[in-house]
């Protein structure tokens, strides 16, 4: 049997979803029987290759994230929005209520710890933040969503295991929906 290719990606999130992924513990061996993890923050790897399944954590906050997501979409059969940030922007999107300029100045200039001496970084090699943080499905078509902050390890394993066995999971029927 051909092993599937699995990737996990970390965009604008806190990596908590990946921590929860690691919480599937020894069940990672079940996953490893059916798939190779070819790209992930926890494995070595360069460019994002063609994969069957990609778990994408976090929202789209910058030009870099958007380019990455578009590339992932092109090279992925089943793109899964992984966690509340990917699904509905969550905490990452809390800056959306303010002007980006105010957000920058609050973080880099007016923050008490800066002693008023900080300045907004302006290096051309830095990524460019978008005005608004967006959930994945506002940028590309998403095939499946696992909400949760973070999603439970059981839920993550359930979804992976179903897809790896060519079945489509149903979180609502499995009573595994959770936000927050």
């Amino acid at each position: 049997m051909n092993k599937k290719k699995l990737a996990t990606v970390w965009l604008g999130g806190c990596s908590g979803c990946h921590m929860s992924l690691l919480d599937i513990d020894e069940r990672i061996l079940e996953v490893a029987k059916l798939a190779d993890i070819v790209k992930s923050p926890v494995v070595d790897g360069k460019d994002f290759p063609e994969v069957d399944i990609a778990l994408v954590e976090g929202s789209v906050t910058s030009d870099e994230h958007l380019a990455e997501l578009l590339h992932i979409r092109k090279n992925t059969k089943t793109l899964i929005a992984f966690g509340d940030c990917a699904a509905m922007t969550n905490v990452t999107g809390m800056r959306n209520y303010f002007d980006l300029k105010d957000v920058f100045e609050t973080s880099y200039v007016n923050s008490i710890s800066n002693d008023q001496e900080g300045e907004v970084p302006d290096n051309p090699y830095l990524l460019r933040l978008h005005d608004k943080v967006l959930p994945l499905q506002e940028c590309v078509p998403v095939d499946f969503v696992i909400p949760g902050c973070p999603p439970n390890a059981d839920t993550i394993f359930y979804v992976l295991f179903e897809f790896l066995n060519d079945r489509t999971p149903n979180l609502s029927e499995a009573k595994k929906l959770k936000y927050g």
């Binding site: 509905m88 999107g93 936000y179």
Partner: protein, 236 residues
């Protein structure tokens, strides 16, 4: 003596008092109809549009909480169309304000979260509005967080009908609607609020909460409003 009528809900024949609403009759007969703005004991206003049902002979949908039963009424509560609208309504609640479950006092004990699970909401298909919302912390005991308000008006009705204080009201229309204290002044400066906390108990989300709790500690008992009103009726 109340007149009796025969109605059919999802094919089930039911004899009911003609003074009752479709929602009351359905609940008495263990037929589930989703609601957010309904709280037994308070006047029904049909604000949340979740309890929409189909009545045979009409292309329109009717809110079960404000529509009285009538003889030979044929009601459908669970068609494909109704489920689709329930899902849309729920998604719009989430898209309209800033519901960040992860940092909310009501996480895990929230009627909006539960509603999402019931309608199978996994993502929101509409663009979020991301409005900049006020958080009023001026009251010594409680907080009003507009980010989490779904404009169900249960707080307003609990304040007016149960406490009789009339502190809360609504301002503006549509997506700009806001629950206000007195004439849109700080809650802490209210001349009408008695600090009874009934609005906090009535609120289905984390919009109203007591300062004594932090994230995920919410433990509300809206049924206490219902109980209070039932007892008052008995005393009369």
């Amino acid at each position: 003596m109340m007149a009796l009528v025969t109605i059919y809900i999802d094919g089930k024949k039911i004899i009911a008092g003609s003074e009752k609403t479709i929602l009351e009759v359905a609940r008495e007969n263990n037929i589930e109809i989703l609601t957010m703005c309904h709280l037994k004991g308070l006047t029904d206003v049909g604000a949340c549009r979740l309890c929409m049902v189909e009545l045979e002979g009409s292309p329109k949908l009717f809110s079960a909480c404000t529509t009285k039963v009538a003889d030979n009424m044929i009601v459908t509560t669970n068609s494909e169309r109704i489920r689709r609208y329930q899902r849309i309504t729920t998604e719009l609640f989430f898209a309209e304000r800033n519901h960040i479950c992860a940092v909310c006092v009501s996480n895990g004990a929230c009627e909006l979260q539960d509603l999402g699970y019931k309608v199978g909401l996994d993502a929101i298909r509409y663009p979020h509005l991301f409005p900049q919302c006020e958080v009023d912390t001026s009251h010594p005991l409680y907080v009003m967080d507009q980010n989490r308000c779904i404009s169900c008006s249960r707080c307003i009705r609990a304040c007016a009908e149960v406490e009789g204080a009339y502190n809360w009201d609504m301002m503006n229309r549509g997506y700009q609607i806001r629950v206000i204290s007195d004439f849109n002044t700080l809650w802490g400066e209210s001349t009408t609020c008695t600090s009874c906390g009934k609005c906090v108990q009535a609120c289905p989300t984390g919009a109203l909460w007591a300062k004594s709790i932090v994230q995920g500690q919410q433990d509300k008992h809206p049924e206490f409003i219902t109980d209070l009103m039932e007892r008052r009726k008995m005393n009369l």
